[in-house]
Symmetry: C2
Subunit: 151 residues, 2 copies
């Protein structure tokens, strides 16, 4: 990380950026928690549903990697979500030893509603942004996300 | 949240923004966890230290509000951090019924090191950003943070 090119940016600017990012992440996390209260699902359950919603069916191992969790932890998580009928385990028709987690209708409804509420919250936050400022923010965050995925 | 002005922005743009923000927050959280492993402190302990570092001494009640925690949970957190000599309880000399949490040298060293590592990580992420792009990102995030605090 201490390579030459890494120091092209002013340290104070990066320090400010890190601080804002740290606080924004904390607010996003807290706001997300508040929105989940109505749905009787926990934050890790939401994150699991989110990946199944966006990336489709996957094995426990694949989901564990995405969530940075041990497979045993993900198995517990899926067990609880299966009881709530949010997801189901489906055997691969081509190789019945492979089991994938599939998002059920009830899980999809919840994830859609929660994401919609998060969008509404963000809409309200962006009230004092001009259309151009929103586009700049969107492009900046998209690039930041792409670069973070590379690291 | 559904007031007229709240709908000035394109819904697809807000949807993309929400998604990037959600994923960035997850990465920041995960990266933060990884950085803490070396310091034997938990993420809530880091957040507690962070507030004491940035906002100075405060009561359990004040810290609970900032962290969105019940006072009993914060008390447990402070008990554990006091045992590790990261913080101490200090009586207000003017009103000895008031007890404030004070960051100790050891806690300050840890928080400084963790924040420094987070800045180094961000430096590396920003490697492919031009100086101008970093300034634009910084200003956009600072505004987003200000607006989120208002909400």
């Amino acid at each position: 990380m201490n390579d030459e090119s890494g120091f092209q940016h002013n340290e104070n600017v990066v320090a400010e950026l890190e601080k804002d990012l740290r606080y924004i992440s904390a607010i996003v996390k807290q706001k997300g928690r508040e929105l989940l209260v109505d749905y009787a699902i926990t934050p890790p359950q939401f994150i699991g549903l989110q990946y199944l919603f966006e990336d489709g069916d996957m094995t426990i191992g694949e989901l564990s990697n995405k969530m940075f969790l041990a497979c045993s932890t993900t198995t517990d998580l899926i067990d609880r979500m299966e009881k709530k009928e949010l997801v189901e385990r489906v055997k691969d028709p081509k190789d019945r030893r492979v089991v994938r987690i599939h998002l059920l209708n009830k899980g999809e409804i919840i994830i859609n509603e929660v994401i919609k509420k998060r969008q509404e919250y963000l809409h309200a936050v962006l009230n004092d942004f001009s259309e151009q400022e929103v586009m700049i923010l969107k492009d900046s965050l998209a690039k930041l996300h792409r670069e973070m995925k590379k690291e």
